[in-house]
């Protein structure tokens, strides 16, 4: 029996009008009870992670230092480094709940939906290093940003994505990129929203997999009735309107066998649900008791924050691929559903746990395997994060939203776009490394003529120690260790008079090309 989480598609417009007419319910009692529930869930997460660590006789890493934490939280939630001033304020604060305050503040920042949209665009579309294609992706990214900035219920986002008809409306580019082919749309939407990789069953029944050819083509049948309208309304390259017809079926390749629509692993009758094929699929996917959709969302959120999913890889949640913490996955999923599919709250809850706040430093040689989450994973920055971080350390630009259309940024991102979706890999090559070391934006950020930061540091009343402090805070969000301070002070002393700024530029170059800078840890 299907329990529908909220009013189905046909009434979505009405529902939207109704919710918008509601007065704001932001009373303080609601807020504090919400916060209490969130804190209780965070504590439960820590408890379940600790139970597993105890069982394996493994030791958790200590909590991260403030500098380590603020840098990580900024990168994960808003996609960029904190400024020197933001870092200083955080380091200087004595507030006992300053971690939670920081997370609450970041999640309300306009950079949060921008970063999340970036992250989801990369999840939804194959990586491309073609600048033309990158520009085409902007429509989808803007659409996602709109959804995330309103914190639209996640189930509704999925539903709107699956039933999109307007090419101007973001998801049109996703449909275009899959050529409107039922088999491609089936395998991609099930990977993205259900965490199921059914495509192996596309050609044959796999002996060890529960998914059969019938399952795959049954899902594909929901996308069998799509076409581009005759009066082709092409909106930008690679986007177009989509029409749902009432005819068109799929057949298993090289047979005449027509496969009717069927939900994977479910006996629910699609025909009893009204609307187009895609609407029927959407209704099934977003129903409260869909066994895959909310679990996949939770696993995505966990992987985004922790570097790996409770099920790993995060988009392969097949029954053979077991979760490291089954109870945790169940309870978090339940929490997510009860919260009204609130993705923002889910990320915020994970972000305030001690598990998220652990140091990424290794504590011993016999360290726990990564699936125990005993220490924070070391993650690569995305190309977008990296570019923006270089600009930030040079204090070249501060307004992130203005950077989206920067041609140099698009080129840089195209050059460094990775194929792997697993950010615990550092997936780049020598030509890219050369471009980073010797090209813009690093060369611009580390040259005294163009770096705002180096110009600011040339003030004569500053000591070398103060200057180095600023450089380290800008790049690493921490002051230098004593041995670093000594090393770089000695280096600055060898610089000839008049070359002080250049020498500081050299230090900034070293920091900008270091693993500590280029990784989120």
């Amino acid at each position: 029996m299907l329990r529908i989480a909220h009013v189905p598609v046909s009434c979505a417009v009405l529902l939207l009008a109704w919710t918008m007419a509601l007065p704001a319910q932001d009373t303080s009692t609601d807020v504090s009870s919400e916060t209490a529930k969130m804190q209780a869930m965070a504590a439960r997460i820590d408890e379940l992670v600790q139970t597993r660590l105890d069982r394996e006789k493994a030791t958790a890493a200590p909590l991260a230092t403030d500098g380590e934490f603020i840098r990580r939280a900024y990168l994960d939630l808003v996609g960029n480094l904190p400024t020197v001033a933001q870092t200083r304020a955080y380091l200087d604060s004595d507030a006992p709940d300053k971690r939670q305050q920081l997370i609450a503040q970041l999640i309300k920042s306009p950079a949060y939906p921008t970063h999340l949209a970036n992250t989801w665009r990369a999840l939804v579309l194959e990586p491309s290093d073609d600048p033309q294609r990158l520009q085409n992706e902007q429509g989808l990214q803007l659409w996602l940003r709109g959804k995330f900035s309103q914190n639209v219920r996640y189930d509704r986002l999925v539903e709107e994505f699956l039933t999109a008809t307007q090419g101007s409306d973001g998801p049109g580019y996703f449909y275009a990129s899959q050529d409107l082919k039922p088999e491609l749309l089936a395998s991609e939407t099930s990977r993205i929203f259900l965490g199921l990789q059914l495509e192996c069953a596309q050609c044959h029944d796999h002996p060890f997999d529960r998914w059969k050819q019938q399952d795959f083509w049954g899902l594909a049948a929901f996308f069998a009735q799509l076409e581009r309208p005759g009066n082709d309304n092409v909106i930008g390259l690679g986007r177009f309107d989509i029409v749902d017809r009432d005819m068109g079926e799929v057949t298993i390749p090289e047979t005449d066998q027509v496969v009717p629509p069927a939900f994977p692993g479910s006996k629910a009758d699609y025909a009893s649900l009204g609307g187009t094929r895609r609407q029927q699929l959407a209704i099934w996917m977003v129903s409260r008791d869909n066994p895959y959709m909310p679990r996949r969302a939770v696993n995505w959120a966990w992987a985004h924050m922790m570097g790996r999913g409770i099920v790993h890889p995060a988009d392969d949640m097949s029954p053979q691929n077991l979760p490291s913490h089954p109870e945790l996955l169940d309870e978090l999923t339940d929490y997510f559903i009860r919260s009204g599919f609130d993705l923002q709250l889910l990320l915020q809850t994970i972000a305030i746990t001690d598990t998220y706040a652990r140091s990424s430093e290794a504590v011993s040689d016999s360290e726990a395997p990564p699936e125990l989450f005993a220490r924070m994973a070391v993650k690569s920055l995305t190309p977008e994060q990296l570019y923006d971080a270089f600009l930030k350390v040079g204090l070249l630009k501060t307004d992130v939203t203005m950077m989206q259309q920067d041609g140099q940024r698009i080129q840089f991102v195209a050059r460094l776009r990775t194929a792997s979706k697993d950010r615990t890999f550092f997936d780049t090559g020598m030509p890219q490394a050369l471009a980073v070391m010797n090209g813009p934006p690093v060369s611009t950020a580390t040259s005294p003529e163009t770096s705002g930061l180096l110009k600011a540091l040339s003030a004569p009343f500053l000591t070398d120690e103060q200057r180095l402090n600023v450089l380290f805070l800008a790049a690493y969000s921490r002051p230098p260790y004593p041995d670093e301070l000594k090393r770089y002070q000695e280096f600055l002393q060898t610089a000839e008079p008049g070359q002080q700024s250049a020498a500081l530029g050299d230090v900034l170059w070293v920091l900008a090309n270091s693993a500590e800078f280029m990784l989120n840890h």
Binding site: E188, S360, E361, T424, F426, G429, A433, A435, S514, A515
Partner: protein, 439 residues
């Protein structure tokens, strides 16, 4: 670098994950290739003719027919095999060339044709396919080398970005590009084209003394982080940036420094970007770089001769002949031609009939590519077109078959699978190699 047992273990795990299951299928293949030629790996050079060269005025001439145009044929060192009169150098080495006269493809647009010929796939699909350069350099790669595995010399500015791209293989397999530094020499100038690797030189204002000081500090910074944060990502960052540093070292960078060649040798190749690019290709092959692509006709799609076909093709043919024939001669003198396969191609051919502006238009139906050197049975033409040159009458060859043949010639099984991001196995080429042109 931190080398405690546990960080090494993590690094190995991370690296294993990176190549993943893909390695399983090509390891036996590598072993087989090494068995055939224990002392060195194979290399491949693509000579890319931007714009789509005319087959009728180069390697599949139609003398006596109205479509034949102005050029005469010349005899080669293989009886019965004839080329354009402007290929005097190549004519002496025709025994090393297999002329593929039956090419038939389905893309008549520059960008789409460029993508098709580089990847074997028609563009627009959901997957970003790797170019043949990325696939082959991965299959043939030299982990120990300080030089990149895939180098593209002077790629066309109009080229679709994804045509040279590593696609789903990721940036680790992207081409290092060599471009012109400063303005290219003017027409009729005595100056030689000045080529260099993108971003290989230090940024303006940074000399080697300063760079050395930077690198000394950088090494300490890296070691410190790796010791505290052993992880696959940190080890990989350190390794890749370290290899970029090595590449900047004069010894490695000198592979690209043509001032180390005598003026006489440089002149022999031709002064333009193509000739000098061929010389770079020879220097890279000497250093075991597996894949080099050199473009002729670059920025302006030079072979796109819709108007005034004959003077343009004459000029381009002479430039091509000089660079290519010198490259083959020098490789041969060094004993390297046997392990180096050369593929000459553009995005499509040109119409056999001459249009009313003395030009030829786009024509993917029946055209010519050339295979040469290692692994190729030279001295033959494979495939045939009719008298007018308008259709293939024998040996029709699709791009997948051409690429499969190239793979075989360099000792790589074309069915070698690389994995898409969804772990879908994708063969380098689905086509069938043409045994008749394989040595």
């Amino acid at each position: 670098m931190n080398t405690t047992p546990h960080s090494r273990r993590r690094f190995l795990q991370a690296t294993a994950g990176l190549v993943g299951a893909a390695s399983c299928s090509w390891l036996p293949q590598l072993a087989a290739a090494a068995g055939a030629d224990p002392n060195r790996k194979r290399s491949c050079i693509v000579l890319w003719m931007a714009g789509g060269p005319t087959q009728t005025d180069t390697f599949d001439m139609k003398p006596g027919h109205a479509n034949g145009g102005e050029f005469k044929e010349t005899e080669t060192n293989v009886p019965g095999l004839r080329f354009s009169e402007h290929f005097a150098g190549l004519a002496q080495q025709a025994d090393k060339l297999a002329i593929m006269r039956g090419m038939s493809t389905r893309e008549g647009d520059h960008l789409r044709g460029t993508y098709l010929m580089h990847t074997g796939q028609r563009p627009g699909g959901p997957l970003n396919y790797p170019s043949i350069g990325a696939s082959l350099s991965k299959a043939l790669e030299h982990n120990q080398s300080t030089l990149p595995n895939y180098v593209a010399v002077n790629p066309s500015g109009l080229l679709n970005g994804s045509a040279l791209s590593p696609g789903f293989l990721g940036p680790r397999y992207a081409a290092a590009t060599v471009g012109t530094r400063g303005a290219p020499p003017a027409e009729g100038s005595d100056a030689m084209a000045d080529l260099g690797v993108d971003f290989l030189s230090l940024p303006p204002g940074i000399d080697t003394r300063r760079q050395d000081a930077r690198l000394a500090l950088w090494k300490d910074q890296q070691d410190q982080f790796l010791a505290r944060h052993p992880s696959g990502a940190a080890e990989a960052q350190a390794t890749i940036f370290q290899s970029a540093v090595k590449m900047m070292h004069p010894e490695a960078a000198s592979a690209f420094d043509l001032s180390q060649e005598s003026t006489e040798v440089r002149e022999t190749y031709g002064r333009g970007t193509f000739g000098q690019g061929c010389l770079i290709a020879r220097r890279l092959v000497e250093r075991d770089v597996p894949f080099v692509e050199v473009t002729l006709g670059g920025g302006g799609l030079g072979w796109d001769t819709h108007q005034g076909n004959f003077p343009a093709v004459e000029r381009l043919s002479k430039e091509l002949d000089q660079g290519w024939s010198t490259l083959m001669r020098e490789l041969s003198e060094r004993g390297l031609l046997e392990s180096t396969t050369i593929l000459w191609m553009g995005e499509f051919g040109r119409t056999p009939n001459i249009n009313n502006t003395a030009g030829r238009d786009h024509f993917p139906d029946a055209w010519t590519c050339v295979l040469a050197g290692g692994g190729i049975a030279g001295g033959q033409a494979y495939g045939q077109t009719d008298e007018a040159g308008s259709e293939v009458t024998e040996g029709k060859t699709e791009v997948q078959d051409l690429l499969a043949t190239l793979c075989r010639a360099v000792g790589v099984d074309p069915a070698t699978e690389h994995f898409s991001p969804q772990a879908r196995p994708i063969k380098i080429s689905e086509g069938h190699s043409i045994d008749q042109v394989l040595a």
